[in-house]
Amino acid sequence: MKFIVGWLYPDLMNIYGDRGNILTLLKRAEWRGYDTRLIELGRGTTNGMAEVDLFFFGGGQDREQALVYEDLLEHKQAPLERAVAAGAGVLAVCGGYQLLGHYYQTGDGERYPGIGLIDVRTEAGKRRFIGDVIVDTNLADLKPSTLVGFENHSGRTFLGPKARPLGRVRAGFGNNGEDHMEGCLQASVVGSYLHGSLLPKNPHLADHLIRTALMRRGVTDLAPLDDSIELAAHEKILARAQR
């Protein structure tokens, strides 16, 4: 069976080591015998977007983010909406998470509309949130129930009624440093501020994303893998926070 990952702007939105998410998704599907493929969706291309099972959209620097912005609105928005309506999954981290929301408002009050795929809005904050994050997740099928990662953002993201948080922060700032929530869940879209990369140390979340995305191909369960190395790294972050 096929498993196709679509990587939005791999050359420009890749600043915080988020490639680990791509490697994790592909490897974990490969290890289970799926026929995996990666489609790189750079500026100007939409080829293959309809076939994608799971999209990944990472964070970029401001300069690069400005360069992908027009392309996203002009070329990617419509095919992305169609794919998600057809059951494709999305993982968006940091800058990608912000761009999928309604808008990003700068410190001067200027608003840049996002594509509104998720019911979130983001405003620039003064202080940058930097450091380890531990999240107690709201996803019922995750074992362990924690997520670990590293955040580095000045945007403050607030969720509207259609989105629910990915979890509650036990350590770190999360979406906005006020409501103790981190990330968002809406239909098959997961948004988060966590780098690390996010998925390698959270293999249970990686599997949740793969399973959800493959539901439309009739997959209901994934074969178990030996995650002792991944979970040892996960545990290490949990243990550090307790000290």
């Binding site: 791999p10 050359d11 420009l12 890749n14 600043i15 915080y16 080591g17 988020d18 490639r19 680990g20 490697l23 994790t24 490897k27 750079g42 500026r43 620097q61 401001d62 300069r63 690069e64 360069l67 940058r128 930097i130 450091g131 380890d132 590293f150 580095n152 780098h195 690390g196 990369s197 390698p200 140390k201 190395i229 991944e230 040892a232 790294a233 290490k236």
Partner: protein, 454 residues
């Protein structure tokens, strides 16, 4: 008076810190002296008989500074320079203090200072260097430095404020450095590589400066040397690599042992390996030329150069050869891996990853390093450092079989030595403090000298 008090207090702190084994006394004296006289570095810099040279950039600062110091000393000058790693303003201040006399005056011909990218503005303002070298700009410790763009802008404003007679020596092959230079009023001296045979044709994943600063189009690379450094041009003709005045050709790479190249008709040979060191040597050569040194003299002097601790430092341990190589960000790591595997034929590795402040507290960047390159070459890889567990995950997803993660430096070293046959070479690629931890263990076992003696 205030300066003399600052110098004395700083010097006393340095002596105490060495005696009490707190370390080499490389930055604390600077803190103390600057608290008494914030202008102490500005005043001391003015004492330099010929002036100062400042080296900045993400990778290669230490080696380049050491090469330039080596040239100047060979030409009979006395040189004051900050030690490896002590490259914030306090480190430069401490170095100057260390060489100041009883009257509080600095007695040296030249100052050669490596300065952290983020500290450059303040440093050049105080030091007023005769030449500033910018080696490259790669992503590095985003949690500390912020984005590359922020750093680039700081460097540009630092260079723009220097007087006209102060020279900027810039790497033409780095698109982000070139952008800085093209915005400057006074023309920089450009250096770069021109050798197809050492180039690859595809940018690595972790390339940053890949779009045209004018129109935003993706740059076309005719050659890629190190990271995003290469020969590039904008498809719309809006931007291109400046023609280097000093170009290295006929580059010959011999593992970690040596490298050779022709620069404007002069053959240079250096007992350091890796293409990244070709840039460092070229930058030092360009500086020597700009200061009026003779090309043949520079070439002769390079032949007897010795690297700083932890920069391709060779040690012996129980009949195994150890090669300690600082590797601290994706661009640097990709180069040291490439040198160790492709050029030196390495099979035995210890990778050390720490997440202390000096390393960067975010280890996400290991996912930008092409560890996949180890696959099929490495027979043993020991993941070490306080984030060894993260490295083990990274190696698993790179398809590289690794030994169990070992955070304790002594036990990691034991695992490496046990897995490396006698007479073989093991490569220890480590982030800054992981390298210091390993080195401390090597010193404890009598296999290395303390770093302040290197």
């Amino acid at each position: 008076m205030r300066r003399a008090a600052a110098v004395w207090a700083g010097k006393a702190t340095g002596a105490l810190s060495r005696i009490s084994r707190l370390g080499g006394g490389t930055t604390l004296p600077g803190d103390v002296a600057r608290a008494i006289d914030p202008d102490v570095l500005r005043k001391l810099s003015r004492d330099l008989a010929h002036g100062a040279i400042v080296i900045t950039g993400t990778n290669g600062k230490t080696t380049t500074a050491r090469l330039i110091g080596w040239l100047l000393e060979g030409a009979g000058h006395s040189v004051v320079s900050n030690r490896a790693g002590a490259n914030l303003i306090f480190g430069a201040t401490a170095a100057a203090l260390d060489r100041a006399g009883a009257n509080g005056r600095l007695r040296a011909d030249w100052g050669v200072f490596e300065i952290d990218e983020a500290s450059l503005e303040r440093a050049v303002d105080e030091i007023q260097p005769r030449a500033t070298i910018v080696l490259n700009l790669f992503r590095d410790q985003l949690d500390r430095y912020g984005e590359l763009e922020t750093i680039a802008k700081k460097i540009e404003s630092a260079l723009a404020r220097l007087p006209g007679e102060s020279r900027a020596l810039l790497n033409a092959d780095d698109p982000r450095v070139a952008e800085i230079g093209l915005n400057l009023e006074s023309k920089p001296l450009w250096f770069g590589l021109d050798d197809e045979s050492v180039a690859v044709h595809e940018l690595p994943h972790a390339a940053d400066a890949r779009t045209c600063p004018r129109c935003g189009a993706s740059l076309l690379f005719d050659a890629v040397y190190v990271g995003h450094d290469g020969v590039y041009r904008c498809p719309n003709g809006d931007f291109a690599r400046p023609a280097p005045e000093l170009a290295a050709t006929n580059i010959e790479l011999n593992g970690f042992d040596s490298l050779g190249m022709d620069v404007n008709g002069v053959r240079i040979e250096l007992p350091l390996g890796g293409l990244y060191n070709a840039y460092n040597a070229l930058a030092a050569f360009a500086t020597g030329k700009a200061l009026g040194l003779d090309s043949t003299f520079i070439a002769d002097r390079f032949r007897t150069f010795r690297a700083a601790f932890g920069r391709q430092e060779r040690l012996e341990a129980k009949g195994r050869r150890l090669n300690l190589v600082l590797s601290k960000n994706p661009a640097g790591f990709n180069e040291t891996l490439r040198t160790a595997i492709d050029l030196a034929g390495g099979h035995f590795f210890l990778i050390g990853l720490n997440d202390r402040r000096a390393d960067g507290t975010d280890v996400s960047w290991i996912w930008d390093v092409d560890f996949e390159h180890l696959r099929g070459h490495a027979r043993v890889v020991v993941p070490g450092g306080n984030r060894a567990a993260d490295l083990a995950v990274r190696l698993k997803y790179a398809g590289v079989e690794s030994a169990p993660a070992e955070s304790d430096p002594g036990r990691a070293l034991d695992a490496l030595i046990e897995a490396t046959p006698e007479g073989e070479t093991a490569h220890l690629l480590c982030t800054y403090t992981a390298m210091l931890d390993l080195r401390a263990e090597l010193v404890r076992r009598g296999w290395a000298k303390p770093y302040w003696e290197t």
